[in-house]
């Protein structure tokens, strides 16, 4: 006799709308000491990075460790990493939406926010890297569509606009609610919040026609944002792949980067889930079930990414063409080998093995795995950018020592850390003004859950009858 499995609840159906709303909005009601301290710390890091950037602006990029061979370094690697993270929102919100994965409800906001902030700073990194940031207008005045960098500019601007809208759209009903609620509750920054919610709610009343329109616009955005997201990381890879350099001259760079982006992006979403679940006591909403499912998502993405890694390295390694061979030697057994193998084993193979087990998809294990993945993805970007530049076609001969090796210096680290802290600042501030869960969607999810349960009970009943009829027939229902 087989056991009938009731589909795991992801949103507790018994939670009332009131409770869901209260739980979501509670953190925005206070402005505690710890928040202030945390923000103070972040602003310190940010300020220091700003100082470093001003230093760099005043004295030129010569203040970084970049030189004529390694002409792109930490900034560009971090740029690729950030743009990668930004794929999380699209994955969780758009792809899971289009595939009708209702369990996504409590984590969509977090994912969309990650997309937004990582694009804010991802888009800034290449500008920080410019030798003449003062001439940025030339991109408009003299812009050439034939340049991969121009594709980046166009697609990142599109994606940024799109994902800002995508973050905001599901916020509208929540903003309407919070706007109305402000009249009865007391909260810090009330005046500002009043204005803020009112503006963002753009006259939301919750009428039927408004809901209909919102639903329609969100469907359209969902469909638009997926190809845009794919195009973004594809063209980011093209700034490398469109060159002839060994290591970059690869036809799978587009999908390779997109897979790497989804892999790192979803890992970062899990980390954000862990943090907000703890901080905001969302255990009831972000359940083990969510971690299990997200773990499966990351697992499959890691498998795809690992597979592409195999193609990216094993094929040229088998052939060992001259210039490619020099680079691969350096990666496999040379100065970058430790980082390279740590990336392959520590952040691809190890996560795969861990996540294969149900225990490996619990919050604790996933935290460890996802930290590995996030750091690994970052280091991997660095390993894509830097070693290739150190292996040009013609030998590096008789040049200053600073040209033939590269490690980011204090300016680059400070600016990069400022970008990270800037991201966290925006996330922190956001979480202090807006609910970290899309309230109406969670409520909606709870309703779906409830109706599912009812439907399931019917099915269960039917199954029992069926079972009785056929006696030993296998009947398993999986959610």
């Amino acid at each position: 006799m087989s056991k009938i499995i009731y589909p795991d609840s992801h949103i507790p159906a018994e939670l009332s709308e009131e409770v869901i709303r209260e739980d979501s909005m509670r953190p925005t009601m206070k402005w505690g000491r710890s928040t202030q301290l945390w923000l103070g710390f972040l602003f310190m890091v940010f300020g220091w990075g700003l100082y470093a950037y001003i230093h760099q602006l005043r004295h030129g990029l010569g203040e970084t460790a970049m030189r004529n061979y390694v002409s792109w370094g930490l900034y560009i690697s971090t740029f690729v990493f950030f743009i990668g993270i930004s794929h999380s929102g699209t994955l969780v919100s758009a792809i899971l939406r289009i595939t009708k994965q209702d369990w996504r409800m409590p984590i969509t906001r977090i994912a969309e926010l990650m997309t937004f902030v990582s694009l804010c700073f991802g888009g800034l990194m290449p500008i920080i890297d410019l030798g003449r940031a003062d001439r940025i207008a030339n991109l408009v005045i003299f812009g050439r569509v034939q340049s991969p960098l121009m594709w980046d500019v166009m697609s990142i601007v599109t994606y940024f606009t799109g994902s800002t809208i995508f973050l905001w759209l599901p916020m509208i009903p929540d903003m309407g609610l919070m706007r109305d609620r402000l009249t009865v509750v007391d909260t810090p920054f009330k005046k500002f919040k009043k204005w803020l919610y009112k503006t963002l709610a753009i006259g939301w009343t919750g009428s039927k026609s408004q809901w209909k329109r919102l639903e329609l616009v969100m469907t359209i955005m969902t469909i638009i944002i997926i190809p845009v997201a794919v195009s973004v990381h594809t063209v980011v890879s093209y700034i490398f792949a469109m060159t002839l350099r060994p290591g970059w001259n690869s036809t799978i760079f587009g999908p390779y980067f997109v897979a790497g982006a989804l892999y790192s992006g979803s890992a970062v979403v899990i980390l954000a889930m862990v943090i907000f679940r703890k901080l905001y006591h969302l255990e009831k909403y972000i359940t083990y079930r969510h971690f299990d499912l997200m773990g499966r998502v990351v697992l499959s993405l890691t498998l795809i990414y690992g597979y592409l890694n195999l193609n990216e390295y094993w094929i040229p390694a088998y052939k060992m063409a001259t210039s490619e061979g020099h680079l691969l030697h350096d990666l496999f057994s040379g100065s970058y080998s430790t980082a390279f193998w740590l990336c392959q084993f520590g952040t691809v193979l190890f996560p795969i093995v861990v996540m294969c087990f149900p225990k490996g998809r619990t919050p604790g294990a996933l935290t460890v795995v996802c930290i590995f993945i996030a750091i690994g993805a970052w280091v991997k970007r660095y390993l894509i950018v830097v070693p290739t530049l150190l292996h040009p076609f013609l030998p590096i001969q008789d040049v200053p020592l600073t040209w033939s090796q590269y490690f980011p210096n204090w300016v680059e680290w400070s600016v990069t850390m400022a970008a990270f802290s800037g991201m966290v600042i925006i996330v922190t501030l956001y979480a202090k003004f807006f609910p970290m869960m899309s309230m109406w969607e969670v409520v909606h999810g709870a309703h779906i859950e409830e109706s599912k349960r009812v439907a399931f009970e019917k099915v269960e009943h039917a199954e029992e009858i069926n079972e009785a009829k056929t006696n030993h027939k296998k009947a398993t229902v999986v959610g």
């Binding site: 030129g60 030998p395 040209w403």
Partner: protein, 331 residues
Amino acid sequence: MIDQNEQNGNGSGAESKATGRRNFLKFGALAAGLTVVGGGLQKVLSQDKKENPDTTVFTRDGKVFKADKACLHEYTAPPVTNAEARIGIPGKKFTMVFDLAKCDGCKKCTESCQAMHFTESDREWIKVYKMKDAETTASYYMPKPCMHCDNPPCTKVCPVGATFKREDGIVLIDDDRCIGCRSCMAACPYSARFFNWSDPMQPVAVANIPYSPEHGFPRQRGTTEKCDFCPHMIREGKMPACVSGCPMQAIYFGDQNEDAVTNSAGVTVKFSQLLEDNSAYRLLEELGTEPRVYYLPPKNRKYPKPDMESIGKENKIEGGKSDTGMGNMAM
């Protein structure tokens, strides 16, 4: 603003007779002329009844007027504007040939180039490599400028068109437009490009003259630079600095359309014949960049072969000194 007196070679200061050397390019006389600089001009125009209006000045748009000699000063202006520099010299297809059998690795080409363009010692727009293709093959010296590729990867990727291919085959950079993204450096397979990470060191006098993509100075921080085939010299009917600086006469330069190339001894040979007779080749031909620079194989060398062991040991360039932003040095 009137900044230059003539463009068409009918000015007074014509001095383009190639100094004793074959004037292989047969350009009209293009010359450094006289010019009036801002304030001085105002003065001239406001004082109509000058006691000594003894010099005729041409403006760029062809107007002529008399000016006081005292208000004028000698001025070697860039012969062309940035816009004109994008077009190139009509009817030409410049090309360079390196006879590796003659090159003895003395690096005089590099030095001449650095003097011509006021670059630091680490900026080897033309760099002499010590090459040894395989364990068993011979070592040789190989000077490498920008290849001025006919299918240039660098210009393709430039987001603002700051680097471009001209009609005459030359690939130039307009540093007034470059945003310093370094896409072109990533794209160039020949490591031909350099970046001004900090304020470049150049003589103050040079730093103050108007910029032209044709000579590449005054060099600007945050922009790229590379070998430019010295178009400002070509316009004067002279050879690029490296060609005339080569004591071994190993570098030929000329116009492919004329099918003639000339070396530093003034020997002009048939370009196609030279390539034919010596089985010329181009560097990294397999990449499809279509270089305009050719190499003649290092056969029957007349100099000692390079010592490959010495690579890196005779590093005379001090560790990145020029990158530390020491600003302009006095001339």
